[in-house]
Amino acid sequence: MSSIETSSAAVGDKPARHPVTVLPALRPLVLWALILTFCVVPFGLVIAISFGQKIEGAAWEWAFTPDNYIRFFVGADWPASTTFLYLNKLWYSLYYAVIASVLAVITAFPFTYFLTRLSRAAQSKWLVFLLATMSLSEVFIVMGWDILLSNRSGLPMLLRETGVTAWLKEVGWFDTLRGWGLANPRDIKFKTSVPATILTMSYLVWPYAVILLYPALSRLDQSTVEAARTMGAGPWTVVRTVVLPSVRMPLIGTLFLLFVFLLGTYVSVTVFADPSKQTLAISVYEAVRGSTLNAPFGAAQAVVLLVTGGICLCLGQILVNRRRTAT
Protein backbone atom coordinates (compact mmCIF):
# COMPACT_ATOMS: atom_id res chain seq x y z
CA MET A 1 0.00 0.00 0.00
CA SER A 2 2.77 2.36 0.95
CA SER A 3 4.73 2.05 -2.21
CA ILE A 4 2.21 2.50 -5.00
CA GLU A 5 3.98 5.80 -5.48
CA THR A 6 7.40 4.23 -5.87
CA SER A 7 6.23 1.43 -8.14
CA SER A 8 4.66 3.78 -10.64
CA ALA A 9 7.66 6.08 -10.50
CA ALA A 10 9.92 3.51 -12.09
CA VAL A 11 7.52 2.68 -14.89
CA GLY A 12 8.88 5.51 -16.99
CA ASP A 13 12.40 4.15 -17.39
CA LYS A 14 11.76 0.85 -19.08
CA PRO A 15 14.72 -1.20 -20.14
CA ALA A 16 14.88 -0.98 -23.92
CA ARG A 17 15.96 -4.46 -24.93
CA HIS A 18 15.12 -7.89 -26.37
CA PRO A 19 12.03 -8.54 -28.41
CA VAL A 20 12.21 -12.11 -27.07
CA THR A 21 9.67 -12.81 -24.35
CA VAL A 22 10.10 -15.25 -21.52
CA LEU A 23 6.54 -16.42 -21.53
CA PRO A 24 4.24 -16.91 -24.52
CA ALA A 25 2.56 -13.88 -26.07
CA LEU A 26 -0.66 -15.15 -24.56
CA ARG A 27 0.43 -13.96 -21.13
CA PRO A 28 -1.10 -10.46 -21.19
CA LEU A 29 -4.42 -11.86 -22.36
CA VAL A 30 -4.55 -14.44 -19.59
CA LEU A 31 -3.66 -11.79 -17.01
CA TRP A 32 -6.32 -9.39 -18.27
CA ALA A 33 -8.92 -12.17 -18.20
CA LEU A 34 -7.95 -13.14 -14.66
CA ILE A 35 -7.94 -9.61 -13.29
CA LEU A 36 -11.17 -8.62 -14.99
CA THR A 37 -12.95 -11.78 -13.81
CA PHE A 38 -11.86 -11.68 -10.19
CA CYS A 39 -11.17 -8.02 -9.42
CA VAL A 40 -13.74 -6.25 -11.55
CA VAL A 41 -16.69 -8.61 -12.07
CA PRO A 42 -17.58 -8.88 -8.33
CA PHE A 43 -17.91 -5.08 -8.14
CA GLY A 44 -19.89 -5.13 -11.41
CA LEU A 45 -22.25 -7.73 -9.94
CA VAL A 46 -22.89 -5.56 -6.89
CA ILE A 47 -23.80 -2.66 -9.16
CA ALA A 48 -25.98 -4.82 -11.44
CA ILE A 49 -27.84 -6.47 -8.58
CA SER A 50 -28.48 -3.12 -6.90
CA PHE A 51 -31.03 -2.48 -9.68
CA GLY A 52 -32.75 -5.82 -9.08
CA GLN A 53 -35.79 -6.43 -6.93
CA LYS A 54 -36.67 -8.61 -4.00
CA ILE A 55 -39.26 -11.34 -4.33
CA GLU A 56 -41.01 -12.62 -1.22
CA GLY A 57 -39.18 -15.37 0.63
CA ALA A 58 -35.71 -13.88 0.70
CA ALA A 59 -34.92 -14.36 -2.99
CA TRP A 60 -34.42 -11.73 -5.64
CA GLU A 61 -34.60 -11.36 -9.42
CA TRP A 62 -32.86 -9.31 -12.10
CA ALA A 63 -34.62 -6.08 -12.97
CA PHE A 64 -33.84 -2.53 -13.85
CA THR A 65 -35.54 -0.44 -11.23
CA PRO A 66 -34.30 2.58 -9.29
CA ASP A 67 -36.49 1.57 -6.30
CA ASN A 68 -33.56 0.52 -4.12
CA TYR A 69 -31.87 3.87 -4.58
CA ILE A 70 -35.11 5.76 -4.00
CA ARG A 71 -35.53 3.80 -0.79
CA PHE A 72 -31.98 4.63 0.20
CA PHE A 73 -32.17 8.36 -0.36
CA VAL A 74 -35.77 9.27 0.46
CA GLY A 75 -37.46 6.14 1.83
CA ALA A 76 -39.63 3.37 0.32
CA ASP A 77 -42.87 5.35 0.59
CA TRP A 78 -41.65 8.30 -1.41
CA PRO A 79 -43.27 10.52 -2.61
CA ALA A 80 -46.06 9.90 -0.05
CA SER A 81 -43.57 10.32 2.80
CA THR A 82 -39.84 10.72 3.11
CA THR A 83 -37.44 9.19 5.61
CA PHE A 84 -33.72 9.68 5.77
CA LEU A 85 -33.02 6.51 7.75
CA TYR A 86 -30.30 5.26 5.41
CA LEU A 87 -28.82 8.65 4.72
CA ASN A 88 -28.51 8.88 8.47
CA LYS A 89 -26.52 5.62 8.46
CA LEU A 90 -24.31 6.99 5.70
CA TRP A 91 -23.82 10.11 7.78
CA TYR A 92 -22.62 8.02 10.73
CA SER A 93 -20.28 6.06 8.44
CA LEU A 94 -18.70 9.32 7.30
CA TYR A 95 -18.75 10.88 10.77
CA TYR A 96 -16.88 8.03 12.50
CA ALA A 97 -14.47 7.54 9.61
CA VAL A 98 -13.56 11.24 9.32
CA ILE A 99 -12.93 11.80 13.02
CA ALA A 100 -11.10 8.51 13.54
CA SER A 101 -8.83 8.96 10.52
CA VAL A 102 -8.00 12.59 11.40
CA LEU A 103 -7.25 11.55 14.98
CA ALA A 104 -5.00 8.72 13.78
CA VAL A 105 -3.07 10.91 11.34
CA ILE A 106 -2.57 13.73 13.84
CA THR A 107 -1.11 11.39 16.46
CA ALA A 108 0.75 9.14 14.02
CA PHE A 109 2.51 12.04 12.32
CA PRO A 110 4.83 13.05 15.19
CA PHE A 111 5.42 9.40 16.00
CA THR A 112 6.49 8.63 12.43
CA TYR A 113 8.70 11.72 12.34
CA PHE A 114 10.52 10.56 15.48
CA LEU A 115 10.68 7.01 14.13
CA THR A 116 12.48 8.08 10.96
CA ARG A 117 15.13 9.86 13.07
CA LEU A 118 16.13 6.56 14.72
CA SER A 119 18.87 4.22 13.52
CA ARG A 120 17.99 1.78 10.75
CA ALA A 121 18.15 -1.19 13.14
CA ALA A 122 15.84 0.47 15.67
CA GLN A 123 13.44 1.41 12.87
CA SER A 124 13.37 -2.21 11.80
CA LYS A 125 12.34 -3.34 15.30
CA TRP A 126 9.61 -0.71 15.55
CA LEU A 127 8.33 -1.70 12.10
CA VAL A 128 7.99 -5.34 13.15
CA PHE A 129 5.92 -4.24 16.14
CA LEU A 130 3.79 -1.87 14.05
CA LEU A 131 3.19 -4.43 11.30
CA ALA A 132 2.19 -7.03 13.87
CA THR A 133 -0.42 -4.70 15.43
CA MET A 134 -1.51 -3.52 11.99
CA SER A 135 -2.29 -6.98 10.72
CA LEU A 136 -4.08 -7.94 13.93
CA SER A 137 -7.68 -8.79 13.15
CA GLU A 138 -10.39 -6.29 14.08
CA VAL A 139 -12.06 -8.95 16.23
CA PHE A 140 -9.01 -9.16 18.50
CA ILE A 141 -8.61 -5.40 18.76
CA VAL A 142 -12.27 -4.96 19.66
CA MET A 143 -11.86 -7.82 22.15
CA GLY A 144 -9.10 -5.86 23.91
CA TRP A 145 -10.93 -2.54 24.01
CA ASP A 146 -14.10 -4.34 25.04
CA ILE A 147 -12.35 -5.46 28.22
CA LEU A 148 -10.59 -2.12 28.72
CA LEU A 149 -13.86 -0.19 28.52
CA SER A 150 -16.17 -2.73 30.15
CA ASN A 151 -18.06 -1.80 33.30
CA ARG A 152 -16.89 -4.79 35.28
CA SER A 153 -13.14 -4.79 34.72
CA GLY A 154 -12.21 -1.81 32.62
CA LEU A 155 -11.79 1.92 32.93
CA PRO A 156 -15.24 2.53 34.55
CA MET A 157 -14.28 0.06 37.31
CA LEU A 158 -10.90 1.77 37.73
CA LEU A 159 -12.57 5.18 38.04
CA ARG A 160 -15.07 3.81 40.55
CA GLU A 161 -12.48 2.05 42.70
CA THR A 162 -10.13 5.02 42.78
CA GLY A 163 -12.95 7.33 43.80
CA VAL A 164 -12.84 9.45 40.67
CA THR A 165 -16.49 8.63 39.90
CA ALA A 166 -17.57 9.75 43.37
CA TRP A 167 -15.52 12.92 43.00
CA LEU A 168 -17.07 13.66 39.61
CA LYS A 169 -20.50 13.30 41.18
CA GLU A 170 -19.52 15.72 43.95
CA VAL A 171 -18.34 18.48 41.64
CA GLY A 172 -21.32 17.95 39.32
CA TRP A 173 -19.38 16.98 36.19
CA PHE A 174 -20.99 13.56 36.31
CA ASP A 175 -24.21 15.03 34.97
CA THR A 176 -22.31 16.66 32.13
CA LEU A 177 -20.91 13.24 31.22
CA ARG A 178 -24.41 11.78 31.38
CA GLY A 179 -25.49 14.47 28.96
CA TRP A 180 -22.75 13.27 26.59
CA GLY A 181 -23.95 9.67 26.94
CA LEU A 182 -20.81 8.65 28.84
CA ALA A 183 -22.52 7.67 32.09
CA ASN A 184 -25.56 5.76 33.29
CA PRO A 185 -27.33 6.88 36.49
CA ARG A 186 -24.73 5.22 38.74
CA ASP A 187 -21.50 4.84 36.81
CA ILE A 188 -19.30 6.09 34.04
CA LYS A 189 -19.87 3.94 30.94
CA PHE A 190 -18.23 3.71 27.54
CA LYS A 191 -20.32 0.92 26.05
CA THR A 192 -22.15 2.07 24.05
CA SER A 193 -20.77 5.47 23.19
CA VAL A 194 -19.49 7.46 20.25
CA PRO A 195 -16.04 8.12 21.82
CA ALA A 196 -15.47 4.38 22.34
CA THR A 197 -16.37 3.68 18.70
CA ILE A 198 -14.06 6.38 17.41
CA LEU A 199 -11.23 5.40 19.76
CA THR A 200 -11.30 1.77 18.58
CA MET A 201 -11.51 2.74 14.91
CA SER A 202 -8.65 5.16 15.34
CA TYR A 203 -6.56 2.46 17.03
CA LEU A 204 -7.41 0.15 14.14
CA VAL A 205 -5.84 2.42 11.51
CA TRP A 206 -3.08 4.00 13.60
CA PRO A 207 -0.34 1.56 12.50
CA TYR A 208 -1.54 1.98 8.89
CA ALA A 209 -1.13 5.74 9.29
CA VAL A 210 2.48 5.28 10.43
CA ILE A 211 3.27 2.85 7.61
CA LEU A 212 1.75 5.20 5.01
CA LEU A 213 3.49 8.33 6.32
CA TYR A 214 6.81 6.53 6.73
CA PRO A 215 8.09 6.74 3.10
CA ALA A 216 7.49 10.50 2.82
CA LEU A 217 8.98 11.33 6.20
CA SER A 218 12.02 9.11 5.78
CA ARG A 219 12.81 10.70 2.41
CA LEU A 220 12.54 14.15 3.89
CA ASP A 221 15.55 16.22 2.91
CA GLN A 222 17.47 16.35 6.18
CA SER A 223 19.73 19.18 4.99
CA THR A 224 16.88 21.71 4.86
CA VAL A 225 15.91 20.77 8.40
CA GLU A 226 19.48 21.25 9.54
CA ALA A 227 19.78 24.51 7.63
CA ALA A 228 16.69 25.82 9.40
CA ARG A 229 18.09 24.71 12.75
CA THR A 230 21.45 26.45 12.17
CA MET A 231 19.62 29.61 11.23
CA GLY A 232 18.13 29.50 14.70
CA ALA A 233 14.67 28.07 14.15
CA GLY A 234 13.22 26.18 17.12
CA PRO A 235 11.97 22.58 16.72
CA TRP A 236 8.34 23.68 16.41
CA THR A 237 9.18 26.31 13.80
CA VAL A 238 11.11 23.70 11.81
CA VAL A 239 8.17 21.29 11.85
CA ARG A 240 5.72 24.03 10.90
CA THR A 241 7.74 25.72 8.17
CA VAL A 242 9.92 22.92 6.73
CA VAL A 243 8.57 19.47 7.55
CA LEU A 244 4.81 19.99 7.24
CA PRO A 245 4.82 21.83 3.89
CA SER A 246 6.99 19.17 2.27
CA VAL A 247 4.78 16.25 3.37
CA ARG A 248 1.43 17.99 3.00
CA MET A 249 0.30 15.85 0.07
CA PRO A 250 1.30 12.43 1.50
CA LEU A 251 -0.47 13.54 4.66
CA ILE A 252 -3.69 14.22 2.76
CA GLY A 253 -3.27 11.02 0.72
CA THR A 254 -2.92 8.99 3.93
CA LEU A 255 -6.01 10.63 5.36
CA PHE A 256 -8.09 9.63 2.34
CA LEU A 257 -6.85 6.02 2.37
CA LEU A 258 -7.57 5.58 6.09
CA PHE A 259 -10.97 7.17 5.65
CA VAL A 260 -11.94 4.74 2.89
CA PHE A 261 -10.61 1.83 4.93
CA LEU A 262 -12.76 2.89 7.91
CA LEU A 263 -15.95 3.20 5.84
CA GLY A 264 -16.23 -0.59 5.95
CA THR A 265 -15.51 -1.13 9.67
CA TYR A 266 -17.93 -3.61 11.09
CA VAL A 267 -17.02 -5.09 14.45
CA SER A 268 -16.08 -1.86 16.26
CA VAL A 269 -19.39 -0.31 15.30
CA THR A 270 -21.57 -3.31 16.24
CA VAL A 271 -19.89 -3.63 19.62
CA PHE A 272 -19.40 0.02 20.60
CA ALA A 273 -22.04 2.08 18.79
CA ASP A 274 -25.61 2.48 19.92
CA PRO A 275 -28.06 0.74 17.49
CA SER A 276 -29.48 4.14 16.52
CA LYS A 277 -26.01 5.35 15.60
CA GLN A 278 -24.82 2.47 13.46
CA THR A 279 -23.35 2.66 10.01
CA LEU A 280 -24.03 1.62 6.45
CA ALA A 281 -21.60 -1.32 6.65
CA ILE A 282 -23.88 -2.89 9.26
CA SER A 283 -27.06 -2.45 7.27
CA VAL A 284 -25.33 -3.86 4.15
CA TYR A 285 -24.50 -6.93 6.20
CA GLU A 286 -28.04 -7.16 7.60
CA ALA A 287 -29.57 -6.89 4.14
CA VAL A 288 -27.30 -9.39 2.40
CA ARG A 289 -26.81 -12.07 5.03
CA GLY A 290 -28.42 -10.90 8.27
CA SER A 291 -31.95 -10.47 9.50
CA THR A 292 -33.58 -8.28 6.84
CA LEU A 293 -32.49 -10.31 3.78
CA ASN A 294 -32.94 -8.08 0.78
CA ALA A 295 -29.92 -8.64 -1.44
CA PRO A 296 -30.69 -5.97 -4.07
CA PHE A 297 -31.20 -3.31 -1.42
CA GLY A 298 -28.03 -4.44 0.34
CA ALA A 299 -26.21 -4.18 -2.98
CA ALA A 300 -27.56 -0.64 -3.50
CA GLN A 301 -26.23 0.38 -0.09
CA ALA A 302 -22.91 -1.23 -0.92
CA VAL A 303 -22.80 0.76 -4.17
CA VAL A 304 -23.29 4.00 -2.22
CA LEU A 305 -20.41 2.98 0.04
CA LEU A 306 -18.34 2.01 -3.01
CA VAL A 307 -18.99 5.30 -4.79
CA THR A 308 -18.18 7.30 -1.65
CA GLY A 309 -14.93 5.36 -1.23
CA GLY A 310 -14.08 5.54 -4.94
CA ILE A 311 -14.54 9.31 -5.07
CA CYS A 312 -12.26 9.75 -2.06
CA LEU A 313 -9.57 7.47 -3.51
CA CYS A 314 -9.64 9.39 -6.81
CA LEU A 315 -9.46 12.73 -4.99
CA GLY A 316 -6.50 11.49 -2.97
CA GLN A 317 -4.77 10.19 -6.09
CA ILE A 318 -5.31 13.47 -7.95
CA LEU A 319 -3.84 15.45 -5.04
CA VAL A 320 -0.81 13.16 -4.85
CA ASN A 321 -0.29 13.28 -8.63
CA ARG A 322 -0.52 17.04 -8.73
CA ARG A 323 2.16 17.21 -6.11
CA ARG A 324 4.37 14.85 -8.12
CA THR A 325 4.11 16.89 -11.32
CA ALA A 326 4.74 20.06 -9.34
CA THR A 327 8.12 18.85 -8.10
Partner: protein, 265 residues
Protein backbone atom coordinates in the same frame (compact mmCIF):
# COMPACT_ATOMS: atom_id res chain seq x y z
CA UNK B 1 16.60 12.56 20.36
CA UNK B 2 14.72 14.82 22.74
CA UNK B 3 12.97 13.71 25.90
CA UNK B 4 9.65 14.72 24.40
CA UNK B 5 10.21 12.43 21.42
CA UNK B 6 11.11 9.50 23.67
CA UNK B 7 8.07 10.11 25.86
CA UNK B 8 5.75 10.35 22.88
CA UNK B 9 7.04 7.15 21.30
CA UNK B 10 6.90 5.35 24.64
CA UNK B 11 3.34 6.48 25.26
CA UNK B 12 2.30 5.38 21.77
CA UNK B 13 3.81 1.96 22.40
CA UNK B 14 1.94 1.66 25.70
CA UNK B 15 -1.40 2.52 24.09
CA UNK B 16 -0.71 0.10 21.21
CA UNK B 17 0.17 -2.67 23.68
CA UNK B 18 -2.68 -2.03 26.12
CA UNK B 19 -5.46 -4.03 24.42
CA UNK B 20 -3.00 -6.78 23.45
CA UNK B 21 -1.77 -7.21 27.03
CA UNK B 22 -5.31 -7.21 28.40
CA UNK B 23 -6.48 -9.82 25.90
CA UNK B 24 -3.47 -12.01 26.64
CA UNK B 25 -4.18 -11.86 30.35
CA UNK B 26 -7.86 -12.60 29.77
CA UNK B 27 -6.90 -15.95 28.25
CA UNK B 28 -5.95 -17.11 31.75
CA UNK B 29 -9.48 -16.70 33.14
CA UNK B 30 -10.85 -19.80 34.83
CA UNK B 31 -14.47 -18.92 34.16
CA UNK B 32 -16.21 -18.20 30.88
CA UNK B 33 -16.11 -14.43 31.13
CA UNK B 34 -13.36 -12.04 30.14
CA UNK B 35 -12.19 -10.44 33.37
CA UNK B 36 -9.13 -8.33 33.94
CA UNK B 37 -7.20 -9.09 36.04
CA UNK B 38 -8.05 -12.77 35.36
CA UNK B 39 -9.98 -14.75 37.96
CA UNK B 40 -8.85 -18.29 38.94
CA UNK B 41 -5.89 -18.23 36.53
CA UNK B 42 -5.50 -21.44 34.54
CA UNK B 43 -3.82 -22.60 31.35
CA UNK B 44 -6.62 -24.98 30.40
CA UNK B 45 -7.95 -22.55 27.75
CA UNK B 46 -4.82 -23.23 25.73
CA UNK B 47 -5.46 -26.95 25.80
CA UNK B 48 -9.07 -26.27 24.85
CA UNK B 49 -8.09 -24.19 21.85
CA UNK B 50 -5.30 -26.35 20.48
CA UNK B 51 -6.31 -29.86 21.51
CA UNK B 52 -9.75 -30.44 22.93
CA UNK B 53 -12.35 -28.51 20.99
CA UNK B 54 -12.76 -29.75 17.41
CA UNK B 55 -14.46 -26.48 16.41
CA UNK B 56 -11.29 -24.49 17.07
CA UNK B 57 -8.96 -27.15 15.71
CA UNK B 58 -10.92 -27.27 12.47
CA UNK B 59 -11.04 -23.48 12.26
CA UNK B 60 -7.29 -23.25 12.85
CA UNK B 61 -6.71 -25.78 10.09
CA UNK B 62 -8.92 -23.85 7.65
CA UNK B 63 -7.22 -20.57 8.57
CA UNK B 64 -3.80 -22.06 7.85
CA UNK B 65 -4.84 -23.70 4.56
CA UNK B 66 -6.52 -20.55 3.27
CA UNK B 67 -3.69 -18.25 4.37
CA UNK B 68 -0.92 -20.37 2.82
CA UNK B 69 -2.88 -21.19 -0.33
CA UNK B 70 -4.05 -17.67 -1.01
CA UNK B 71 -0.65 -16.11 -0.32
CA UNK B 72 1.03 -18.52 -2.74
CA UNK B 73 -1.61 -17.87 -5.39
CA UNK B 74 -1.34 -14.10 -4.92
CA UNK B 75 2.44 -14.27 -5.42
CA UNK B 76 2.02 -16.38 -8.57
CA UNK B 77 -0.33 -13.83 -10.13
CA UNK B 78 1.56 -10.79 -8.85
CA UNK B 79 4.84 -11.89 -10.44
CA UNK B 80 3.86 -11.60 -14.13
CA UNK B 81 1.92 -8.41 -13.35
CA UNK B 82 4.88 -6.72 -11.67
CA UNK B 83 7.29 -8.10 -14.27
CA UNK B 84 5.10 -6.75 -17.09
CA UNK B 85 5.12 -3.26 -15.60
CA UNK B 86 8.85 -3.34 -15.08
CA UNK B 87 9.69 -4.81 -18.48
CA UNK B 88 7.23 -3.15 -20.81
CA UNK B 89 5.76 -0.33 -18.76
CA UNK B 90 3.03 1.59 -20.53
CA UNK B 91 -0.45 2.65 -19.57
CA UNK B 92 -2.04 -0.76 -20.17
CA UNK B 93 0.01 -2.69 -17.63
CA UNK B 94 -0.29 0.17 -15.15
CA UNK B 95 -4.06 0.05 -15.48
CA UNK B 96 -4.00 -3.72 -15.08
CA UNK B 97 -2.00 -3.45 -11.86
CA UNK B 98 -4.34 -0.71 -10.63
CA UNK B 99 -7.35 -2.94 -11.21
CA UNK B 100 -5.56 -5.79 -9.45
CA UNK B 101 -4.98 -3.59 -6.39
CA UNK B 102 -8.55 -2.28 -6.34
CA UNK B 103 -10.12 -4.94 -4.05
CA UNK B 104 -7.54 -4.14 -1.37
CA UNK B 105 -8.13 -0.40 -1.47
CA UNK B 106 -11.94 -0.39 -1.33
CA UNK B 107 -14.05 -1.26 1.75
CA UNK B 108 -13.79 -5.06 2.16
CA UNK B 109 -17.49 -5.43 2.91
CA UNK B 110 -18.35 -4.29 -0.63
CA UNK B 111 -15.90 -6.73 -2.20
CA UNK B 112 -17.20 -9.45 0.13
CA UNK B 113 -20.79 -8.87 -0.98
CA UNK B 114 -19.64 -8.91 -4.62
CA UNK B 115 -17.71 -12.16 -4.17
CA UNK B 116 -20.73 -13.68 -2.42
CA UNK B 117 -22.80 -13.04 -5.56
CA UNK B 118 -19.89 -14.06 -7.81
CA UNK B 119 -19.40 -17.49 -6.22
CA UNK B 120 -23.17 -17.89 -5.96
CA UNK B 121 -23.28 -17.82 -9.77
CA UNK B 122 -19.91 -19.52 -10.25
CA UNK B 123 -20.80 -22.43 -7.98
CA UNK B 124 -17.99 -22.03 -5.47
CA UNK B 125 -19.96 -20.70 -2.53
CA UNK B 126 -19.03 -22.43 0.71
CA UNK B 127 -15.99 -24.21 -0.76
CA UNK B 128 -12.48 -23.89 0.66
CA UNK B 129 -10.97 -23.38 -2.81
CA UNK B 130 -13.17 -20.39 -3.51
CA UNK B 131 -12.10 -18.96 -0.15
CA UNK B 132 -8.47 -19.37 -1.19
CA UNK B 133 -9.05 -17.62 -4.53
CA UNK B 134 -11.02 -14.83 -2.84
CA UNK B 135 -8.24 -14.02 -0.40
CA UNK B 136 -5.62 -14.28 -3.14
CA UNK B 137 -7.52 -11.62 -5.12
CA UNK B 138 -8.07 -9.44 -2.05
CA UNK B 139 -4.38 -9.43 -1.07
CA UNK B 140 -2.87 -9.45 -4.57
CA UNK B 141 -1.83 -5.83 -4.02
CA UNK B 142 0.73 -6.78 -1.34
CA UNK B 143 3.08 -9.06 -3.32
CA UNK B 144 2.50 -6.76 -6.29
CA UNK B 145 3.98 -3.85 -4.34
CA UNK B 146 6.88 -5.75 -2.73
CA UNK B 147 7.90 -7.42 -6.02
CA UNK B 148 7.71 -4.07 -7.85
CA UNK B 149 9.95 -2.48 -5.23
CA UNK B 150 12.39 -5.36 -5.62
CA UNK B 151 12.49 -5.16 -9.41
CA UNK B 152 13.29 -1.46 -9.22
CA UNK B 153 16.32 -2.18 -7.06
CA UNK B 154 17.96 -4.35 -9.73
CA UNK B 155 21.04 -2.66 -11.10
CA UNK B 156 20.44 -1.88 -14.79
CA UNK B 157 24.20 -2.17 -15.44
CA UNK B 158 24.06 -5.91 -14.66
CA UNK B 159 21.26 -6.38 -17.17
CA UNK B 160 23.16 -4.48 -19.84
CA UNK B 161 26.31 -6.47 -19.15
CA UNK B 162 24.36 -9.71 -19.49
CA UNK B 163 22.81 -8.54 -22.75
CA UNK B 164 26.20 -7.51 -24.16
CA UNK B 165 27.56 -10.93 -23.37
CA UNK B 166 24.72 -12.44 -25.34
CA UNK B 167 22.43 -13.72 -22.60
CA UNK B 168 18.84 -14.25 -23.67
CA UNK B 169 16.05 -12.77 -21.60
CA UNK B 170 15.33 -16.17 -20.12
CA UNK B 171 18.94 -16.59 -18.98
CA UNK B 172 19.09 -13.04 -17.60
CA UNK B 173 15.87 -13.67 -15.74
CA UNK B 174 17.12 -16.88 -14.21
CA UNK B 175 20.63 -15.75 -13.30
CA UNK B 176 20.21 -12.07 -12.41
CA UNK B 177 16.58 -11.16 -11.71
CA UNK B 178 15.32 -14.22 -9.86
CA UNK B 179 18.09 -14.60 -7.24
CA UNK B 180 17.79 -10.94 -6.21
CA UNK B 181 14.03 -11.19 -5.97
CA UNK B 182 13.80 -13.97 -3.40
CA UNK B 183 13.52 -11.73 -0.29
CA UNK B 184 10.95 -9.44 -1.95
CA UNK B 185 8.84 -12.35 -3.13
CA UNK B 186 9.00 -13.93 0.32
CA UNK B 187 7.98 -10.65 1.98
CA UNK B 188 5.00 -10.32 -0.35
CA UNK B 189 4.03 -13.88 0.42
CA UNK B 190 4.22 -13.35 4.18
CA UNK B 191 2.36 -10.03 4.13
CA UNK B 192 -0.49 -11.68 2.24
CA UNK B 193 -0.33 -14.72 4.55
CA UNK B 194 -0.64 -12.74 7.77
CA UNK B 195 -3.42 -10.50 6.50
CA UNK B 196 -5.36 -13.46 5.13
CA UNK B 197 -4.98 -15.18 8.49
CA UNK B 198 -6.66 -12.21 10.18
CA UNK B 199 -9.34 -11.36 7.61
CA UNK B 200 -12.97 -12.36 8.22
CA UNK B 201 -15.48 -10.06 6.45
CA UNK B 202 -14.81 -11.32 2.92
CA UNK B 203 -14.52 -14.85 4.27
CA UNK B 204 -17.90 -14.46 5.93
CA UNK B 205 -19.66 -13.81 2.63
CA UNK B 206 -17.66 -16.40 0.68
CA UNK B 207 -17.81 -19.28 3.17
CA UNK B 208 -21.58 -18.96 3.44
CA UNK B 209 -21.41 -20.63 6.90
CA UNK B 210 -20.23 -23.91 5.33
CA UNK B 211 -16.89 -23.70 7.13
CA UNK B 212 -15.15 -21.16 9.32
CA UNK B 213 -11.71 -19.83 10.00
CA UNK B 214 -10.57 -18.76 13.47
CA UNK B 215 -11.37 -15.07 13.06
CA UNK B 216 -14.64 -15.93 11.32
CA UNK B 217 -15.56 -18.26 14.19
CA UNK B 218 -15.03 -15.38 16.64
CA UNK B 219 -16.94 -13.00 14.38
CA UNK B 220 -19.87 -15.43 14.20
CA UNK B 221 -20.13 -15.73 17.97
CA UNK B 222 -19.87 -11.98 18.49
CA UNK B 223 -23.46 -11.69 19.72
CA UNK B 224 -22.78 -14.13 22.56
CA UNK B 225 -19.77 -12.14 23.73
CA UNK B 226 -16.09 -12.95 23.83
CA UNK B 227 -14.71 -15.92 25.78
CA UNK B 228 -11.23 -16.66 27.16
CA UNK B 229 -10.72 -19.39 24.53
CA UNK B 230 -10.96 -16.69 21.87
CA UNK B 231 -8.26 -14.78 23.72
CA UNK B 232 -5.99 -17.80 23.23
CA UNK B 233 -6.62 -17.41 19.50
CA UNK B 234 -5.65 -13.75 19.80
CA UNK B 235 -2.34 -14.64 21.48
CA UNK B 236 -1.60 -17.25 18.82
CA UNK B 237 -2.27 -14.78 16.01
CA UNK B 238 -0.15 -12.04 17.54
CA UNK B 239 2.75 -14.45 17.99
CA UNK B 240 2.45 -15.66 14.40
CA UNK B 241 2.48 -12.05 13.11
CA UNK B 242 5.48 -11.08 15.22
CA UNK B 243 7.37 -14.21 14.14
CA UNK B 244 6.61 -13.67 10.45
CA UNK B 245 7.51 -9.98 10.39
CA UNK B 246 10.66 -10.57 12.43
CA UNK B 247 11.67 -13.07 9.79
CA UNK B 248 10.96 -10.57 7.02
CA UNK B 249 13.07 -8.00 8.90
CA UNK B 250 15.83 -10.54 9.45
CA UNK B 251 16.14 -11.71 5.84
CA UNK B 252 15.00 -8.62 4.00
CA UNK B 253 15.38 -4.87 4.36
CA UNK B 254 12.18 -3.93 6.16
CA UNK B 255 12.72 -0.14 6.17
CA UNK B 256 13.33 -0.23 2.42
CA UNK B 257 10.29 -2.44 1.81
CA UNK B 258 8.22 0.11 3.71
CA UNK B 259 9.54 2.82 1.40
CA UNK B 260 12.45 4.35 3.33
CA UNK B 261 15.16 6.26 1.51
CA UNK B 262 17.69 3.71 0.27
CA UNK B 263 20.73 5.94 0.37
CA UNK B 264 20.53 6.27 4.16
CA UNK B 265 21.60 3.31 6.23
Amino acid sequence: MSIFARLFMGLSAVVLLLPIVVVSAAALNGGRSMLFPPKDPTLSRFAEFFLEEPVWRGAMFNSAIIAIGSAALAVLVAWPLAYGIWKQGGQASKLLAGLGAMPFALPPIVFGVGLGFFWGFGGGLGQIWSGIISHAVLFLALPLVTISIGLQSIDKAHLDAAATMGATEAVTFRTIVLPQMVPYTASGFFFALVLSFNEFIVMFFVSSSAYSTVTLQIFNSLRNGFTPTMAVAAITFILVSVAVFSMVARFGDLPRLMGADQSKS
